[in-house]
Assembly symmetry: C2
Homo-oligomer: 526 residues x 2
């Protein structure tokens, strides 16, 4: 498939009338062909108008039709073949196995949502029978289902050019709900975005859906994103990126005449608590696991473990020493783009310069143009409690070891943390008492709590929560990964005394769709 | 029980240190004894600190303990006996049968939530089994449940001094979720609020719960509400009231260092569409039903039908004539307070003065000091399309009849409406085609769609949706009435590779709580 640098609107590729820009190869620091063109406000309008127009037809598809469409998108992405892998590698600097794995994740995610759509639990059908003889007043017949909210803007993330981008989890779950998507391509991987966007367009056409079900526009600056976020046809905004970016979108959304929800996944340092029992075990394996997780994908994971806490003493010192060796042994790999690389360098320098912080390890510089050199720091818990900035995210392969004087200080740190995507405990049975004190604190801070693992690696499954209290996300009632991500794009509607001729199929008397339903307060056997 | 004018904090009644004020009897225009005292910022702090402190113990209660607590609150309200009824009548101007009915609704709502808590569907447990042999990567054990979000501020509404106030649906659903509540008493019914608040305090103590599970503070101006909404211990804001009030709270919440969700139910004109077939039936009954609904509780229902649309012609004229007679026959009843009365008078005058509007009926003035005289207006659809202000809520017994030239104009009006709590169709089988065109439009505009009924009367049941797109509410993903109102106060947490010793009971292997759970993507039989 040809990459032309066009934008995708109304089932066609059209020339963007906005600013010109290119992708860059972060491994070489060189610009990549071809030239891309951003969208103008008029083109954004057009994309959103198409989406609004397509909404009723799209939400009117049967569950099977919509599931097949999701599967068609997955297949169309696979059909791009190695061209997609190579372009994504070139634009992201990420190695082939990672990109192939990420493609697998992206395709698997679309197929999971096909199953989710078919099963229909997300429709949440509830039926309350009429009670015409009830006194003092009869009860009407009431039936509830969830319906999609409308066109969704999906902002592609830089750090997962496939799985959190144009056809990533946000798009998959919005489509699953029955919402058209207008994707904002991330300027770091415009060619990858175009390939994937064209694959989606192909699947839309092959599925006989209205062209407005999908559009993709790009642009190098924030203008296009702002125009999308404030467009009246848009019903929700999905974003994965920086705290500043997420807050800016939340600000735009709140000022709209009709505010819309913003699902922004923003910032997390993913604290890891090494409890005493765990530090008496295989410290080398623990340190290796930590160093691997902290540097995976050049540390550019939302769930990178940025804080590691333990009780001060010889065991924690021992861990720190091995962890330092492991981090020193790591060589800088390419960061996603120059902006992220420069921000990382600046963030590391700020931590390094902090009076209370010791640098315990720097990795090898290597030869990458925009390489992120791993960094491991150490400080005391009391310093973190004094200066909250130390516990803020430095996006990249940098972590801080924190020695706590006692368990009270460890609990105090846990309680002082901002909201997180994840929190992790390393422990043995001997640590159960302390874990029982920590878990209730961490539940209030994080969307996912792990035992004896590392937070990178976010399973796409039914029980996953990739979300968490602010600033991890802007809305901690939801997840952006996993089956329940669909809930973000749904709202309930109640139908009172509807005649059978008007009732949606999922609420009919016969349960013709064979759904799990709640009837008169009881789960109805299918 | 004595009404002392105190505020309720930490399990005690204490003297408010804020401004003094009294309740008023709107039927007589006279101040009521005793003097009440608002809370200071320090007292708000204290109430919120107690709530934060109580949160873990409260959310740690078993489902049965929490259900029993809700039932104890219901019983304690009943135990207030006639004193509550009389005080509520005096402070609201509402008649005895309405207040007795509303007490029944309040108590029934608490008991419904007790059943909801016991059943535990709201916990949404999801289990994904570990797949240690999966390639290329094993899958960890992942388990999701929902947990309560933290202390909730509940703003009492003026128009339902029991069912949407201190122990109303917001409080019942927050308690059900495991969230402590700090209630902001509405200054229109401070004595009612104190009685109910003391009943809750009694139930908290009798249930051996920490005192911080409930507090109640009041105040005549917005200072106390603002202090509550911006307090760092508060995790969500529940409000029923005016659009201006809801938007002010949303503004405060968005500006917090850590934003919190605002569930504000604000404004709705609840359009009623009279389709041609319905106008060929018993028009007298239809008109009587409309007039009764429009003036119920002096029109002070969130679901008061403020717009009535039909196709222009002799049938609609005939309906208008009978409806006018029915409205003329209605006598003004007392409005809730002077402010609401004055705003109603002003709103009616504005509509009346509109060049395109005819006044087709005013009710009888009667003798109430702050009486709301029913009003029925008529205009053309084209005028509503030209001036959106005509379709904005006038809180009270005022409605506008709208003659549409054709069904296209009717559909255009439907599409142009702001978000609504309800939309209603009156129809026969002959109207099915037109209804099929209207329903998809109305689904996007309203939380509840009724056929052949009137929107006042909001059933408290499993399938109810009392919510809807902005400005009906600030968050249309939720309802404030009915069993699923609990979802507002929950967020998901995922537990990865947790040892059995740390797992919450609802996620244990044995399903010891006997919950409906999703395991490996399938609904698990209990």
């Amino acid at each position: 498939m040809q990459i032309t640098g066009e934008i995708l609107i109304g089932g066609k590729a059209v020339a963007g009338k906005g600013e010109a820009f290119t992708g860059w190869n972060p491994s070489t620091g060189q610009a990549l062909e071809p030239t891309f063109y951003g969208a103008t406000t008029e083109q954004v309008d057009e994309a959103c108008a198409f989406a609004a127009e397509a909404f009723d037809a799209f939400r009117g598809t049967t569950l099977e039709e919509r599931a097949k469409f999701l599967e068609a998108v997955a297949q169309a992405i696979l059909d791009l073949g190695d061209e997609l892998i190579e372009r994504t590698m070139a634009e992201s600097g990420l190695p082939r196995p990672r990109i192939e794995g990420e493609r697998g994740r992206t395709v698997g995610q679309l197929r999971l949502f096909a199953q989710v759509v078919r099963q229909g639990l997300w429709l949440s059908p509830v039926l309350d029978s009429a009670l015409p003889d009830r006194t003092p007043l009869p009860r009407p017949d009431l039936r509830l289902r969830k319906i999609p909210i409308g066109p969704v803007v999906v902002f592609g993330a830089s750090n997962f050019p496939l799985a959190f981008s144009v056809a990533g989890g946000d798009t998959a779950s919005a489509f699953a709900a029955g919402c058209p998507v207008v994707a904002k391509a991330h300027p770091s991987h415009p060619g990858t975005s175009e390939l994937v966007g064209r694959a989606i367009q192909k699947a839309v056409a092959a599925s006989n859906l209205p062209a407005g079900v999908f559009a993709m526009v790009g642009g190098r600056d924030n203008g296009v994103g702002g125009a999308l976020a404030s467009h009246p046809a848009i019903a929700a905004i999905a974003f994965t990126g920086s705290r500043a970016g997420g807050l800016a979108l939340a600000g735009i959304a709140a000022k709209r005449p009709v505010p819309v929800p913003v699902y922004a996944e923003m910032s997390s340092v993913n604290p890891v608590f090494l409890l005493p029992g765990a530090l008496q075990g295989d410290v080398a394996a623990l340190a290796q696991g930590f160093a691997d997780s902290a540097t995976l994908g050049t540390g550019q994971f939302c769930t990178q473990p940025g804080l590691v806490l333990g009780l001060a003493g010889p065991e924690f010192d021992g861990f720190a020493q091995v962890a330092a060796e492991k981090m020193c042994a790591k060589t800088a790999t390419t960061m996603l783009n120059k902006g992220i690389h420069d921000a990382y360098e600046k963030g590391v320098k700020t931590v390094e310069a902090h009076a209370s912080v010791q640098t315990v390890a720097r990795g090898q510089a290597g030869s990458a143009a925009w390489g992120g050199v791993p960094a491991l720091f150490q400080t005391k818990a009391s310093e973190i409690l004094k200066d909250r900035h130390l516990s803020e995210e430095v996006f990249g392969p940098s972590s801080i070891l924190i020695a706590c004087e006692n368990k009270e200080e460890m609990l105090a740190i846990a309680a002082s943390l901002e909201g997180q995507l994840t929190a992790t405990l390393h422990m043995t049975a001997a640590d159960t008492e302390l874990a029982r004190e920590l878990v209730p604190v961490l539940e209030k801070k994080a969307g996912r709590i792990l035992v004896n693992g590392f937070p990178t690696g976010v399973e796409v499954s039914h029980a996953m929560v990739h979300g968490g209290p602010f600033p991890a996300t802007s809305n901690d009632h939801y997840t952006s990964v996993g089956a329940t991500a669909i809930d973000r794009f749904l709202r309930p509607v109640c139908y009172q005394n509807f005649p059978a001729a008007l009732l949606p199929a999922e609420l009919d008397d016969a349960n013709s769709l064979g759904l799990w339903r709640l009837r008169d307060g009881k789960v109805e056997q299918r």
